[in-house]
Point group: C2
DNA sequence: CAAAATTTGTGCGTATGTATG
DNA sequence: ACATACATACGCACAAATTTT
């Protein structure tokens, strides 16, 4: 079953075999694979070759390897549909999980104090001295931490928003309370970067694993800029999906 | 101008100052900032504090820091519009750069030998033993390496494709030659990960900087699955932009 | 080519303000 | 009021990479 000298590296063949075996055997997330020594004996190759195959599976996030413990099947990524309406809770519920959000901070400050002051000024066409509201939020699905987001609102134009956000558990709910029944995504900018130590702590993620990062501009139904959202997602838990037709 | 004990950390204030100074002074990409020691004297703070501010600017990709050399203003990211029609060359030209593609490899193999055999089987509903064509490509803009992609085609259904790809410089051109005038994006899945050493070499990127990764399904005008594309982009050069309305 | 100077990277110790319980 | 934890800020020293002399 393993063919030598046929143009395809042995570790590639082993990786493919393990991939299909994991799927067919239906090993659940968290399930353990045989040890490297066992696999080496089983395939009749050196342990280095097994390690190369496992590294490939690990890099593509099908498994994760823990020093001194073994190799385990990873949780599948949650696909986050980049749709017209950005709604964290609805997304989590579509995956049959229970959404929750923890407010980490809410403050009102002069927009010049914002790290993204220039972006905010451009989007909202802020006047000098105009204040913004900054809400930081940790989003979870079944207690699993999947999103850390900062939401920026032009608070001087949205009377009652601060109180509404303090009392509501979701942003959609707070906006509805001050009379904004609907809002949509105007643009998303997606990039990635390594986490800060704070992000590692808050998201309970690994420092060596990058974060998916999105910068969203959301507007009301009539096109007025409403919210600027900067969010990061652990790349071990979330992927984005874009379907142009939706 | 730097206020101590006013609730905002000094390094944050310095980061904001540097950010706006870079913009106002119009320091071009590649332009050098003063050394850490100079900045520390200038702001009247410890070098550690300057380093914390520079780290912030570096993490948000406004600058990059090189050991022994100094800090430099970074090139702005190229925004890659995730639009209906995925066309590498057109995208690069829209940024007023010259696109080029280097074919790294082109081979025809049984689809079972593909790392993503299961995905390919699902998308194309491949028959047992059906072959696929795998093209690997390095995309550049003004000689700057920005994309490493693998393109998977169900080659048994596309007579003449292999020869066309060998002779053409772009995929769009090769497909046109075998009678496929148009094709569109059905779905994109976006994630990120750390690069392999091969990817670092091919893309001339940094091993500690993550790659944006996309997995695209492209179909012909009538909806027939045509191509599966796996691509990685250096996160220091490319960001994705999604505009639902476009 | 070699030495010196410059610049960033890293580590340790200390002190202070702030938030939490 | 007190203890604890954490982020912030400073000072000093030395390592490592690069450039200049």
């Amino acid at each position: 079953m393993i063919e030598r000298g046929k143009g395809v590296a042995i570790w590639m063949q082993i990786a493919a075999r393990l991939r299909s075996e994991i799927e067919e055997a239906g090993i659940p997330p968290g399930g353990r694979l045989p040890s490297e020594v066992e696999l080496a004996a089983q395939f009749g190759v050196n342990r280095h070759t097994i390690r190369r195959a496992l590294e490939e599976l690990s890099r593509t996030r099908l498994i994760y390897v823990e020093h001194g413990k073994g190799s385990f099947v990873a949780e599948p990524l949650m696909d986050y549909q980049i749709s017209l309406r950005p709604r964290f809770s609805e997304w989590v519920r579509r995956h049959n999980l229970e959404p929750a959000g923890e407010k980490l901070g809410l403050r009102v400050l002069d927009h010049a104090g914002l790290p993204e002051a220039d972006i905010a000024r451009d989007i909202f066409t802020l006047l000098p001295g105009e204040r913004i509201l900054e809400l930081e939020r940790l989003g979870t699905a079944d207690s699993r931490r999947i999103a850390l987001s900062r939401h920026i609102f032009p608070v001087d134009r949205l009377p009652g928003l601060e109180a509404a956000l303090l009392n509501c558990t979701t942003i959609t709910e707070a906006l509805a309370r001050i009379g904004i029944a609907d809002y949509v995504r105007l643009r998303s900018r997606i990039s990635c970067r390594m986490p800060t130590s704070r992000e590692v702590t808050l998201l309970a993620s690994e420092p060596e694993s990058p974060l998916l990062q999105s910068e969203n501009v959301n507007v009301t139904a009539d096109g007025t800029p409403l919210e600027l959202c900067f969010a990061v997602y652990p790349s071990t838990r979330v992927a984005f999906v874009v379907e142009p037709t939706s």
